[in-house]
Symmetry: C2
Subunit: 329 residues, 2 copies
């Protein structure tokens, strides 16, 4: 018997390599695009890494961060994503299991190393990411655990998966399983360049039925090819039962087919690193949907979960939930 | 290998039978002493039960409530207490396991039934308790899991255990194991009449070393045989490294050998039932000590955990921790 899960995520299994840098480091480096996620190959990654100051390593990956956030909230989360059986792969697997996430995708003993995301955090707390997908890109349809998806409320799909033909085939299979099982399908737009790369295919995907769309204002505007935020929101409402659009420090806009609610951002002290904030917002929002909360409360839960990771370096919650609960009493 | 636990509780394994009654019901009933916990035998319990209005049943027991609270906060808790292999015993065991508590005390196939606590909740939210200890009273030294205690940070001892010779012997063995293993010993005073019944023995116990004392103002004053609260606090500071004294709606006073801090009570909406509030306060306070928090924060955590159960009937947290966290943002 498979345990019933609330959210299963499918995405890149990455370890983040995080450094604090000066603004000029990002401006002057030819491979860095401020605030964006740029894919790089092994050689480029090695080149960037060699120029980075001392860094910290911590488990990352967009959907993986989201699922870790669901577990942090006390939810039951599962993750599908591929690592190599190397040291960073061990780190990634350890952190998922230690967070209480169901994670059973087999490690690969050959092929490229475990993927990593090189993250430069500038003094404005903005992060600039260069991802070497490594083994993550080689996720295959045969890695998909059909039962895990069928026994879950929501399948959460990371947009970046479409950047690799193999991973794209895997996520399409996962979506097919979800649709047949009645599992809700959620799409994360992830990055405005990612939206532009896959616009036609995602339009088609949404026309065939996506239940939940999550992205930031730039991404949603890119998806609906408009610079009018309200128009983008109205279009999104027609496409999905639940939509959440993050807007940085301004909070988020959450929508159902008939409602639109503005939700404030929540911060705990200083904002030091925005890495993972969108992913963790998604965690709270999806967890709220699973628990049949109204969208306003689901959005507030997203704000809280995002707020937790804004206060420290790294993309996953660093302090236990009880600490958040008691600190606000 | 035994899992390392943060708090192991030893106490009565009871199922609460909870009814809302009018003030006059408690005033007029010869076996009820308002606000107190009175021990009754099987026949008296049956007599009270027959006069009670329709009730709800939920797992209870002072130390058991505390340990459930530790688990609710995300901590690792263990419990030692005895039930009969009957329906209420199954309910008790189920609820402990479902809360994530390590609970392995063997059920007994013969002897008295599982203990129960008949609780009358009056409109002022005060609870009046009559406990039929049943199988709980027959906890024996051989039921003590020495390894569980030795692998725990704190052993939390329910004062009511001294009301039964067999359970008293069991708790004394547990304390002996704890002292030899370096596990901190915490004593819950539980009830002012209980303090009066066991004053001499507890005085001796404390003189031999108790690390943590928890009780309410009445109980601590009874223990130090004074009606001067400040004097009682000063005496308690000499006796234990950590002391927490609850004072109902006024909050609590937490003390170390050198500090004294007043902590506000926390409520979430209306106070409807004070059952379990002291037990859950202890959960937060002990969990805080385990996490090396300063006593003020440990006390605040106690206030929050207690506050959670004040808002609904029953002695254990009814809503998930994330809900408390988000509701206060």
């Amino acid at each position: 018997m498979t345990t019933h899960l609330q959210v299963v995520g499918i995405g890149a299994a990455l370890v983040d390599v995080l450094a604090k840098v000066r603004e000029s480091f990002v401006e002057q480096h030819p491979l860095l695009e401020k605030g964006a996620m740029t894919l790089v190959d092994a050689e480029q990654a090695s080149h960037i890494y060699s120029s980075m100051p001392p860094s910290i390593e911590s488990s990352g990956g967009c959907a993986a961060n989201t699922i870790a956030g669901v577990a942090w909230l006390g939810g039951r989360g599962g993750f599908i994503g591929k690592v190599h059986r190397d040291q960073l792969g061990e780190v990634f697997g350890h952190d998922m299991h230690a967070t209480g996430v169901t994670y059973t995708t087999p490690m690969s003993a050959d092929g490229p190393p475990t993927g990593r995301c090189l993250i430069q955090v500038t003094p404005d707390a903005e992060r600039t990411m260069n991802t070497f997908l490594g083994m993550s890109a080689l996720l295959e349809p045969s890695d998909i655990d059909d039962m895990m998806i069928a026994n879950s409320d929501i399948l959460y799909c990371e947009g970046f998966m479409w950047d690799s033909p193999s991973a794209r085939a895997a996520v399409l299979r996962a979506i097919d399983v979800a649709r047949r099982a009645g599992t809700k399908v959620a799409l994360s737009l992830n990055d405005r360049f990612c939206v532009e790369r896959h616009l036609d295919e995602w339009k088609h995907l949404v026309s065939e039925g996506v239940d939940i769309i999550i992205g930031n204002d730039d991404e949603v505007e890119a998806f609906y090819q408009t610079s009018d935020f309200d128009k983008a929101c109205r279009s999104a409402q027609k496409d999905a039962d639940f939509v959440a659009v993050t807007r940085g420090a301004e909070g988020s806009t959450v929508l159902t087919r008939t409602e639109r609610v503005e939700v404030d951002a929540i911060t705990f002290g200083n904002v030091v690193d925005t890495t993972g904030a969108g992913d963790l917002y998604a965690a709270g929002f999806l967890f709220g949907i699973c628990n049949s909360l109204d969208v306003a409360t689901a959005g507030k839960l997203g704000s809280m979960t995002a707020g937790e990771v804004l206060g420290h370096p790294g993309a996953r919650p660093a302090r236990p939930l009880w600490q958040v609960a008691v600190s606000s009493q």
